[in-house]
C-alpha cells in the first residue's frame, strides 16, 4: 500500500489544472516529473512481486532460484534501456492492459546488430535491426550506448495477461560490437 499510495497521491496532484495544461512554472513542472518518476519506481516493486508470483512455480518461490528482477525502462521512449543495452541475454515481459488480445511491434534499444528472440513456447521469432538515427539532437542529448533498435512482432498477448520473450545477442555480434560505456541509469 505505501507504494501504491505514493502513486495515488501523485495522480491526485496531477489533476490540478496547471498540471493538465502545462501552465505551471518550470520548477513546478520539474517537481511534477520527479514525483511521477518516484511513484513509478515505487510501483515497480509491486509489479515485480506480482510478476514473480505469477511466473515462478509455487514450489520454487521459496528457493528464489527462478525469481527475476522485472525492471521498467522509463526512458524507452527515447531509445534508452540499461538492461537491454548492456546485457547479452535478457528477457522481456509484456503485460497487456487492454480487455482484448493484442499484437504489437516492439522496439528495443540494443548495442549489437544481431539478436535471437525466443518466445515462451520456444519458437524463434523473426527480427530486424534498425540503426538509431544519427541526428545532432539525438546523439548529443541522449545518455545511451544503443546504436540499434531491435524490432519484432509480439503476437497474441492475452487480455489483461502477459507473454515473455528470451533475447540473446548472437556470438558474432558479441565479439564485434561491445558497448563502449555503461548507460547512465538516470
Amino acid at each position: 500500500d505505501p507504494h501504491l499510495n505514493f502513486m495515488r497521491e501523485t495522480l491526485g496532484i496531477m489533476q490540478h489544472h496547471d498540471a493538465i495544461t502545462g501552465t505551471e512554472k518550470e520548477k513546478v513542472a520539474l517537481d511534477y516529473a520527479k514525483r511521477l518518476s518516484v511513484s513509478f519506481k515505487a510501483c515497480e516493486a509491486t509489479t515485480r512481486n506480482v510478476l514473480n508470483q505469477l511466473s515462478v512455480p509455487a514450489s520454487q518461490q521459496q528457493s528464489g532460484k527462478y525469481v527475476l528482477e522485472f525492471k521498467n525502462c522509463p526512458l524507452l521512449n527515447i531509445t534508452s534501456c540499461p538492461v537491454s543495452e548492456s546485457n547479452d541475454r535478457f528477457s522481456l515481459t509484456l503485460y497487456n492492459p487492454l480487455g482484448h488480445v493484442v499484437s504489437e511491434y516492439i522496439r528495443i534499444p540494443v548495442s549489437g546488430s544481431e539478436y535471437k528472440i525466443i518466445d515462451n513456447k520456444g519458437v524463434e521469432l523473426a527480427t530486424q535491426v534498425v540503426p538509431v538515427p544519427g541526428t545532432v539532437n539525438n546523439i548529443k542529448h541522449r545518455a545511451s550506448t544503443a546504436k540499434y533498435e531491435l524490432v519484432f512482432r509480439a503476437t497474441n498477448i492475452p487480455a489483461l495477461g502477459y507473454r515473455s520473450y528470451y533475447i540473446e545477442k548472437s556470438e558474432s555480434s558479441r565479439k564485434t560490437l561491445k558497448p563502449q560505456a555503461t548507460p547512465k541509469a538516470t
Binding site: 505551471e24 510478476l51 521498467n72 521512449n77 515481459t93 534498425v130 538515427p133 541526428t135 539532437n137
Partner: protein
C-alpha cells in the same frame, strides 16, 4: 533521382527528390499528400492591453500569423526489412523524424524529434507539423473530446453565435487529445496523437498539429514566466509520435477506416507494459 517508396500491401508512402513526403497510396487511392515542419513566430505584445498580449503558456498567438518553413531540403536515409520499412529524415539541426510502416499495419508512424528550439534571433517559435492533401474538406474537420466523441469544427465558424475571427490562425486552433481528421466523398485522412496538442485545419485538405514551442515573453495570465524552459541550459527537446491514416472515406467491405482508427487509438495510448530482466545466467531452456 526519383521518388522513394516505403510501405506494404495496405499503405505506401512516396518521398520526393527533396526528401519530403509527396504521395500516399491506400485502398486503391493514390493522392498527393505532403508533410512538413514549420514554425509560427510568437507574438510580442503589450501585456497591459488585453487584446495585445504576448504568446505564452496560456495563449497561442502568432506574430501577424507569420510562418516559416524549417527546411527546403531534407536529408534522408532509407531502411527496408522484413518487419518494417523506415525513412530517417533530417530537416535541420534541431528537427528530425523517422517515418515508418510496419509490415502488417495499414497506417504510417511519424516519430518526430524537435529541439532545442534556437532563440539566438530573439524570436519565440511555435513548431508545427503539417499534412497537406487534395481532399476537398470544405473547411470542415473533426477533433476529439478526450478520446470520446468527435466534434465537428468549421473554419471561422461557431455553431451557436455569429463569430468574427480576429486571429485567423489561433482563432481556429482546437485542443486535440487523441485525434484530428477530415474527409470528402472519396478520401479520408486522420492523425492520432500520443499526447494533447493544439491543432487545426486552416486550408482544405490540410491538418496541422503543434509539437513544441519556446517563447520569450510571459503572457500575463498568471504563470509569471516565459515558456522558455532553460533549466537545462539550452531548451527542451520533445519527441513523440503521430499515426497517419489515409484511405477511402466510405466503408470497405463493411469495415470503415474510422473503426480501425478507433481500435489503433486504444492500442497506441494503452500499449503493453514492458518489463526487462537480466537472464545472463540462464539458457533459453532454463528460462522457459
Amino acid at each position: 533521382s526519383s521518388v522513394t517508396f516505403i510501405g506494404n500491401e495496405n499503405i505506401k508512402l512516396g518521398f520526393d527528390t527533396n526528401g519530403f513526403l509527396s504521395e500516399v497510396t491506400a485502398d486503391g487511392l493514390t493522392r498527393l499528400v505532403t508533410q512538413d515542419f514549420l514554425f509560427y513566430e510568437g507574438a510580442v505584445g503589450n501585456n497591459a492591453e488585453f487584446l495585445n498580449r504576448s504568446s505564452g503558456a496560456y495563449i497561442f498567438r502568432p506574430n501577424e500569423n507569420k510562418i516559416d518553413f524549417s527546411s527546403d531540403h531534407v536529408e534522408i536515409e532509407v531502411y527496408k526489412g522484413d518487419l518494417v520499412e523506415e525513412v530517417h529524415q533530417k530537416f535541420n539541426d534541431w528537427i528530425s523524424q523517422v517515418v515508418r510502416v510496419y509490415k502488417k499495419d495499414s497506417f504510417a508512424e511519424f516519430e518526430w524529434l524537435v529541439g532545442p528550439i534556437p532563440i539566438d534571433d530573439n524570436i519565440g517559435k511555435e513548431v508545427i507539423t503539417r499534412f497537406s492533401s487534395d481532399i476537398e474538406s470544405d473547411g470542415v474537420f473533426y477533433t476529439d473530446s478526450n478520446g470520446r466523441e468527435m466534434i465537428k469544427r468549421k473554419l471561422n465558424h461557431r455553431d451557436t453565435w455569429d463569430v468574427k475571427i480576429n486571429e485567423e490562425v489561433a482563432g481556429n486552433y482546437y485542443p486535440i487529445t487523441t485525434k484530428i481528421d477530415l474527409e470528402d466523398d472519396t478520401a479520408r485522412m486522420a492523425i492520432l496523437t500520443d499526447r494533447a496538442q493544439g491543432g487545426s485545419s486552416l486550408k482544405d485538405g490540410s491538418l496541422e498539429l503543434m509539437v513544441h514551442r519556446r517563447l520569450l515573453r510571459d503572457d500575463a495570465f498568471g504563470v509569471g514566466e516565459a515558456l522558455n524552459e532553460t533549466e537545462y541550459g539550452e531548451g527542451l527537446i520533445a519527441r513523440g509520435k503521430h499515426h497517419l491514416f489515409f484511405g477511402l472515406s466510405k466503408d470497405r467491405e463493411g469495415v470503415s477506416l474510422k473503426s480501425l482508427e478507433r481500435l489503433v487509438q486504444l492500442e497506441k495510448l494503452l500499449p503493453t507494459w514492458k518489463f526487462f530482466s537480466n537472464v545472463e545466467n540462464y539458457t533459453a531452456e532454463e528460462w522457459r
